[in-house]
């Protein structure tokens, strides 16, 4: 590797040759003064600062166009920041070379509003693709896909074509695809946007289950009713800045009273108010 050139993305999380014990103490994700705009006169993110600890479940919310999807797209490097840093497992995503981006995405599971399934592939193929790109043996893929489908309640549906499934089922397949690689972080971009309220709660429950296993979940939604299901950390994007809402419950009230402040940009304030999921897991 040429001197000075950023090295490929290697998370310092998993055991192995490059295992870094100190990585387990770092936040999983840090937005450090991030700026992003698609039009010069209308910036989407304006000095966004946010810290997310390992094992947290965070709702990102805000009105349409607030920058929720942009934040997530920056995370999996579909977009690049105009200024600032995004640290994922200690590595600056913005500085990753094009060759390293796939390595980043292998550590992130992504779920979309429109599911993004290949309609003429089978359910199995749609989930297995995550492991196939890793070059895992077919026998192991078979086992792990079976387990993932079981976790999302689609056991035995592997041979069905994705296009014949209902919206809720398709989203379950998308979730299975996101979790089958056991990523450190799950990004959900309005995953319930195309589903009815009952199914939406159902799908949220799936993400809760995934989170229970220790996976960090970032759930972007503009559906305020979902925020009240359980007390979770809620980050509101307003005027291009991320603001923590102190209590995950009764968000609607808090949300309406949010005033953008430079003094409340990180998760520190939230952590004072509520124990983080990491802490709760540690107690458990």
């Amino acid at each position: 590797m040429a001197p000075g050139r950023p090295s490929p993305f290697r998370p310092a999380l998993r055991a192995g040759q490059r295992f870094d014990a100190s990585a387990s103490n770092r936040p999983i994700l840090v937005f450090d003064n991030v700026y992003k705009s698609y039009r010069a006169d209308k910036p989407v993110l304006r000095g966004t600062c946010l810290t997310i600890e390992r094992g947290e479940f965070v709702f990102i919310t805000g009105p349409s166009g607030a920058g929720k999807s942009t934040m997530l797209r920056l995370l999996y490097r579909a977009e690049t920041v105009d200024d600032g840093r995004i640290l994922f497992l200690g590595r600056d995503i913005a500085r990753l070379t094009a060759d390293s981006v796939p390595m980043l995405r292998r550590n992130v599971g992504i779920v979309f509003q429109d599911f993004k399934l290949v309609p003429n592939w089978s359910v199995y193929d749609n989930v297995a693709v995550t492991l196939e790109v890793l070059g895992i043996q077919e026998r192991i893929i078979h086992t792990r896909v079976g387990e993932a489908l079981e976790r999302v309640g689609l056991a035995g549906r592997g041979q069905d074509r994705a296009c014949v499934l209902s919206g809720g089922e398709q989203q379950r397949v998308a979730i299975a695809r996101a979790i089958v690689g056991e990523p450190a972080l799950i990004l959900a971009d309005e995953p319930t946007g195309n589903l009815d309220p009952l199914l939406a709660t159902d799908i949220l429950g799936l993400f809760e289950d995934i989170h229970e296993t220790g996976t960090t979940v970032i759930f972007a939604t503009h559906d305020r009713t979902l925020l009240d299901v359980r007390p979770r950390r809620v980050v509101v994007l307003d005027e291009g800045k991320a603001v923590d809402v102190p209590n995950g419950l009764n968000v609607e009230q808090d949300y309406d009273q949010v005033e953008t402040s430079d003094e409340l940009p990180t998760g520190a304030h939230y952590e004072e108010a509520l124990p983080t999921p990491t802490e709760r897991l540690a107690v458990a």
Binding site: Y76, A78, A98, D99, P102, M103, L104, R105, R106, N107, I110, K116, L117, V118, P119, N120, W121, D125, N126, V129, T130, E132, V133, L134, G135, R177, G181
Partner: protein
Amino acid sequence: MKAETMSTASRAWRGGRADWKLHLLSSFSSAVAFVCLASALLVVFNLDSVRERWARSGRATIFLREGTSEEAVTDLRRALEQTPGIQAVRYISQADARHEVIADKTESALAALPVEAFPASIEIEVASTTSDAEIASITEKIGKLAPVESIETYQRYTDKLKSLLHAGVAASLVLALVVLAAVVSVVASTVRLALQRRKIEIEVLHLVGATEQYVRRPFVVEGCVQGAAGAAAAVILLGVLYLVVREHVADVLRVLIGVPPTFLPWYAVGGLVALGAILGATASHFSLKRLVTV
């Protein structure tokens, strides 16, 4: 390496199987374009063989001096018969020449000419394998012999015909090139449209962390197979049409242009299939670059 190749092949097979109708349609579109190109090449090759046939007369007439003795003529004939490259030698006496010219007796002016007005000559037929340079060398040597007055090789006429046919070959080649450009466009558009339909697949692969090479390989293989299949189908279709038509026109053409029609040579067939494969693969490669949005 072997595992990678197997993975690429199996993914390409899966892609082809999952959307076989689309692939069939793409191959058919390519085949239609390649039929046009192969037809243009068929014209080029056949016109070229006509040009080859008429590029040289294959004969020459040696006019003898007046008063050449029969002995000298016999010696000259013998010498010519033994010359390599000369297939046949025919002596035409003054009387024979007059007889040939005024055979129909319609031209009274010609018929009034005395036999001395017609020179004796020897007509030689040159083997088809003899090159132009060899013929020139033979005629130069013959021209130096004492009984020879002059030699007519009919080069002026063959040169005119040759340039005419050459222009025909060039024109058909230009046409073939235009068709080739159309084929490139059709194959590229077909492959791009097919890939557009599978955009979601490409997007998903990128989102789950597939490298550029991993994404590209099976699509390039599919494009390559599609292009080659289209070209091969075109050649087979044209071959069948050629066999059907040849039954009816081969004899007529042989009489009219002096050579029987021929199908594309093996190297042209191979070239067409290879071109299809290369075009398909290249179109896939570049189309994928444009399709990547994440």
